[in-house]
């Protein structure tokens, strides 16, 4: 008998007494479908909660996006900034030191960047989280990991209210990275400290749809 068969046999024997497990009571708040495009309160809440993690959040109308993004990057003193394939050209137009990740940069080259700009797939108001799914303008997973600075552009229409809303909106077949503030640790005296292995600085620009 293989280990697989033996394990499955043991599980069946161990659970033989369970006749019917309880129905799962889903009386918690389910996905509601509202987004920040129509609900300004969600945008406020997302901005407030992302700031709680010491991310720097800026908001602007679509017409000013390129200027605000370039201003945020300049304020960090970053020179070589990575730009993933399919990042909207109108948003990167004013970035002076843009380095396209096309063809994909080697890890050492990524390490040589000062930072990156990306879009995102979904943002969650309740938790101040952005989620990347390696879609257009987001880059592969290493792209937003190795450089020390990450600027994420969030459109108001991408902001959902809750975690259930985000789970409903995401595709599990894609590689997903949920990001809530800059990298941090609670390993020293259970107190949160920003800045370990991931980007130590996270900027978020919210662009009105």
């Amino acid at each position: 008998m293989t280990s697989r068969e033996e394990i499955l046999r043991r599980i069946r024997a161990a659970t033989a007494d369970i006749s019917s497990p309880p129905e799962v009571p889903r009386r918690y708040q389910m996905a509601g479908g509202a987004t920040g495009r129509t609900d300004d309160g969600l945008v406020d809440r997302f901005a407030e909660r992302a700031s709680d993690y010491r991310a720097t959040v800026r908001r602007c109308p679509a017409a000013d996006a390129a200027q605000v993004i370039a201003g945020a990057v300049a304020a960090r003193g970053t020179r070589r900034i990575g730009v993933p394939p399919d990042f909207p050209a109108e948003w990167s137009a004013l970035l002076p030191g843009a380095v396209p990740d096309d063809p994909p940069l080697e890890v050492a080259a990524l390490d040589g960047l000062d930072g990156v700009v990306t879009t995102c797939a979904v943002a969650i108001a309740e938790t101040g989280t952005i989620v990347l799914d390696a879609g257009p303008g987001q880059g592969r997973r290493a792209f937003t990991l190795v450089p020390d600075y990450h600027l994420a552009v969030v459109r108001t229409g991408q902001i959902v209210a809750t975690v259930p809303d985000a789970v409903a909106a995401l595709d599990p077949a894609r590689p997903l990275t949920w990001i809530s503030g800059p990298s941090a640790t609670s390993d020293i005296e259970l107190t949160r400290v920003e800045g370990v292995h991931g980007p130590r600085t996270l900027d978020i620009v919210i662009v009105a749809d």
Binding site: Y28, L145, L176, V196
Partner: protein, 485 residues
Amino acid sequence: MTFLGMPTAPRGVGQLRQREPFPDAAASALGDRQLRRNLGHATAVIRAKRAAAVAEVADWAELRAAGAAIKDDVLAHLDRYLVQLEAQVTAQGGTVHWAGDANEANQIVTGLIRATGQTEVVKVKSMATQEIGLNEALADAGITATETDLAELIVQLGHDRPSHILVPAIHRNRSQIRDIFTREMPDAPAGLSDEPADLAAAARAHLRRKFLAATVAISGANFAIAETGTLAVVESEGNGRMCLTLPRTLITVMGIEKILPAWRDLEVFLQLLPRSSTAERMNPYTSMWTGATEGQDFHLVLLATGRTATLADPAGRAALRCIRCSACLNVCPVYERTGGHAYGSVYPGPIGAVLSPQLTGVTDNPDLPFASTLCGACYEVCPVAIDIPSMLVHLRSRVVDDKRAHHHGAAEAAAMRGLAWTMSDSRRWTWALRAGHAGRLFGRRYGRIRRLPGPLAAWTGSRDLPRPPAQTFRDWWARRARDTS
């Protein structure tokens, strides 16, 4: 009670067993004032934060009920969900391995690493691999595993053992960590301060080159979705992302109970886990991947060791709902004072007291079900509503049955039989209570009896006994009845 055909976790490998009796280990931990200060500070901080993070969620009780029921469904249909997970991971280009026990899991992982020709691997913090002693098995095979989680690094550099599920170095304060780094980290900056931010920066610099050069990584998993084959790792520092993303080969070792049936179930657990563990609305990073991702070679090792024996006990199986948040450790009055090392197992605290003895069988961890005051704080904070106090009582009876079967604990059993004889007759009982007056010879100085003579000293070895009163209740009652008539 034993469960036929259900092997427990094997002896001689891994870290699940108490090394010395809990009362002895606890007594030496209690004598360490620095340890008690460190633990008292850290647990007080996290308790307050967790309470605030949970109070913010209006539907917490409903999420908790859903979380418990989802996990019960997983346990009831574990065979089906495992087969489904295997099919999904395989269809997405991953390879699934089944490990009946710790030795088999260690052999599988060693073989997979050898096949890559590498002798160095990076690791994301994982309870499963600690439980099975993977690092030690790899070292025996000439493979160096570097822990990349900050607290694990502190433990590894300090030649220490983990003492908490979430924060394995919780027993160390900042200046102790500075001293370990200065002593053990060749590239530690000169004049390193004990500011947490500086310590984190030193760890970042130390591990950076290793991450960028690594070609093989080992991780655990917080969740695995049967429906889609998706794996999830929840973390803070980005060391998880480094290990999951950069190396060409990724080996994930996961206890079979980590499954969730459907993708949407994450909407419950991604609310319960972060708020219960680090007491945040959301942890900094969560990675999810399905099968072989972005050109990687992906292996999933399903670990059954001790799980089926636990699953077979209807009154104990709910311990497998555990999502390793460690909220129960932080509220436990026993854990807060003794720390995690006293429990011997990698799973300390209340959940460890019910999980470790079930994984190993109660013969090998007979003290742990007694390492509790049954105050119930652990049950209250558990995000999947594991009734730890009731389970402790159940396991205490299993320990007694086990000792009886092995003819141990004869003195205690004889004492209990004597007590039953005495208490079954009212005259015998009244006489016995009066005889208890003799106990007033002891404890005159402190008002409590701190040490009984002879074999009775075993009872007072780990507790004080109240000094018997001058008059028994029965005598008082009889006199009162006479006086009023």
